[in-house]
């Protein structure tokens, strides 16, 4: 006994078949993207793992592939992380605190907010031009670590501020009310209660922003991080090279040996980034547990 006609049944079959095909297509595309990541990592490891040895870490760049290493690049990158952290973390967190706790909801706050979200969309290479014109030339800081670090700090500030604001917004109002009703001032409330409660969230954002700064290449090329540096920087005013710059230098040479060196450099860069991301995830999961 049929409730529906043969034609309607066919139609229904067709619609369900279409749905199944659609679902499989979506799944296939997703797994293809994940597969691409695997291919990318495999390719880099296959090319570069053979070059990773003590000599690679402990040598300066060289014209001869088997004598070349990333010592100066790695040290330069570590300097950069430290300096960028010193500049961007206090300024970023302060901005976020101001915007969330003090600025209110007026026109000024709206304007600053709009401005920050637009800044976060500016291409990194434009920041490089800004750094070149302002820090390298106008303030005559030359092509030094400090020019690079200031440029990178400006680049990641919007990211830190946006992440920081989100973390601060997650602190329940009741905590603020409790502190204020006991007679604490705005700042005492912020410093003693809001900041500690939102700190893990802020740090997660900071670490992710810093890992972006480590991988950025274009702004450093613009401010002129030297690509051949056979010494270690002794202070923030010294010229320097960094991991991505060194990788770019090796990639842009025609010889395949240098490409493999670049792959080895990429492995080091990715390991550094992975460690930072893992730290961020660890902090996040720990606080989630605590809040539950």
């Amino acid at each position: 006994m049929a409730f529906i006609s043969e034609q309607e049944y066919q139609n229904l079959q067709h619609r369900h078949r279409k749905a199944r095909v659609f679902q499989r297509c979506c799944a296939a595309v997703t797994w293809a993207s994940v597969f691409l990541l695997a291919v990318l990592l495999y390719q880099v490891c296959a090319d570069g793992l053979g070059w990773l040895d003590w000599q690679f870490f402990n040598s300066f760049p060289s014209r001869f592939p088997d004598r070349a290493g990333i010592k100066s690049a790695l040290v330069g990158t570590l300097w950069m992380i430290a300096l960028v952290a010193v500049f961007s973390i206090p300024v970023g967190i302060s901005s976020a605190l101001y915007l969330e706790e003090f600025a209110g909801k007026g026109k000024f706050a709206k304007f600053v907010e709009l401005n920050i979200s637009n800044l976060s969309g500016v291409p990194s290479i434009v920041y490089g031009i800004l750094g070149l014109a302002i820090f390298v030339r106008y303030f005559a800081l030359e092509r030094s670590l400090i020019s690079g670090a200031l440029t990178m700090s400006l680049l990641i500030l919007p990211t830190i501020i946006i992440a920081g604001r989100e973390a601060i917004r997650g602190v329940p109002m009741s905590i603020r009310y409790a502190a204020l009703s006991l007679g604490a001032t705005r700042w005492q409330t912020t410093w003693a209660h809001v900041l500690p409660a939102s700190f893990p969230g802020i740090m997660t954002g900071v670490i992710l922003a810093l890992s972006r700064a480590i991988g950025e290449t274009a702004p450093l090329i613009l401010i002129g991080a030297m690509t051949f540096v056979a010494f270690l920087p002794q202070g923030p005013m010294d010229s320097f090279t960094a991991l991505p710059i060194q990788i770019y230098n090796w990639v842009s040479r025609p010889q395949p040996e240098f490409h493999e060196l670049a792959a080895a450099g990429i492995i080091v860069l990715l390991v550094v980034l992975l460690l930072m991301n893992a730290t961020a995830i660890y902090i996040r999961s720990r606080t989630e547990r605590r809040l539950k």
């Binding site: 090319d47 800004l130 290449t217 670049a262 991301n277």
Partner: protein
């Protein structure tokens, strides 16, 4: 904060003391100023970018006529006879962006649909962080991937492809912006209330119909915003296209030839020894101004779509 009015408050026996609003706390005043100054840094940054690009571009346009810049078809800024038509650079950027968009827009949306509509929580918990990892890989790595993997792979299918070509650049930029589209659109689709889906299923719709006729239209503002952000990122993308697609300003339609994008040109100039103050050096700012304006407009449209067309559900 509201002004606190002095409260009459008897302290001790027969005392007339009243508690007034606490005096100015200078420490807190200084802290507040510091916080405000920090928030102003972002405004100053924007102002600096705008003023710098404007001033230097004006200098450039005093030497080169805007007519030649915007409509010229030859970009030979450093050799004599020089020619400053920016169209080849703009075209290079467009080729990469269109190619990347053709790959990433449908694939990114498909990923987002799979993640929000079909994947189990367990799969989602693995795939989404993996995609985020893919988004966090530095662009220089994608450049390496293009040069050492994608181009040789393409060469086996298309033997006459050049070592540096637009296609390989477009592919890796597409791979690069895909996770961004996937995660942002996934957020948008997930914010569509479950009741809408249940209503559609109750009427007998299949999962395909629910997704394409209910969920995606309802989350369309978020999807569109993610598209525009991704396109703006593809336009500003530098290292991958510099490495993969070469340094030849080219108005050709073919994606198999070497091209030069606006960003790749900026890299080329800053690696060379063009003296500061020369016309060649000022082209840097003229090109950067175009880049800045294009990405800014896209970002503003994307924010406008988000605020204007967002469907709000209770």
């Amino acid at each position: 904060m509201e002004q606190l009015s002095p409260i009459e408050f008897p302290v001790g026996k027969g005392s007339n003391t009243s508690i007034h609003k606490a005096g100015m706390r200078w420490g807190e005043f200084v802290i507040k100023i510091w916080l405000q100054v920090c928030a102003l840094i972002s405004l100053v940054t924007t102002a600096a970018v705008v003023v710098l690009l404007l001033v230097e571009s004006v200098k450039f346009f005093k030497v080169v006529s805007p007519l030649e810049f915007f409509f010229g078809t030859r970009w030979v800024p450093l050799l004599e006879p020089s020619s400053f038509g920016v169209l080849p650079l703009l075209w290079g950027t467009m080729l990469i962006t269109i190619g990347a968009a053709v790959i990433a827009l449908p694939m990114g949306l498909a990923c987002a649909i799979y993640l929000s509509e079909y994947a189990s929580d367990k799969i989602r918990a693995w795939v989404k962080p993996t995609l985020e990892l893919l988004a966090g890989i530095p662009t220089i790595v994608y450049g390496y991937f293009a040069l050492t993997f994608v181009t040789p792979l393409l060469k086996t299918f298309i033997p006459n492809i050049q070592v540096f070509n637009a296609l390989s650049g477009a592919i890796v930029v597409g791979i690069m912006i895909l996770p961004m589209i996937a995660t942002l659109s996934d957020n948008a689709l997930r914010s569509v209330p479950i009741s809408l889906r249940q209503a559609a299923y109750a009427l007998g719709a299949t999962s395909y119909e629910v997704t394409t006729k209910v969920v995606v239209p309802a989350g369309l503002s978020g999807v569109m915003a993610s598209y525009l952000l991704a396109i703006s990122r593809a336009i500003g993308e530098t290292m991958a296209v510099t490495i993969a697609s070469g340094q030849t300003p080219n108005l050709s339609l073919s994606m198999l030839e070497s091209i030069q994008t606006m960003t790749a040109y900026i890299v080329q100039i800053s690696l060379g020894d063009t003296p500061a103050g020369s016309v060649g050096y000022q082209t840097l700012f003229a090109v950067a101004t175009m880049l800045f304006l294009i990405t800014l407009v896209l970002n503003i449209i994307s924010q406008w779509i988000l605020s204007r067309f967002r469907e709000v559900y209770d």
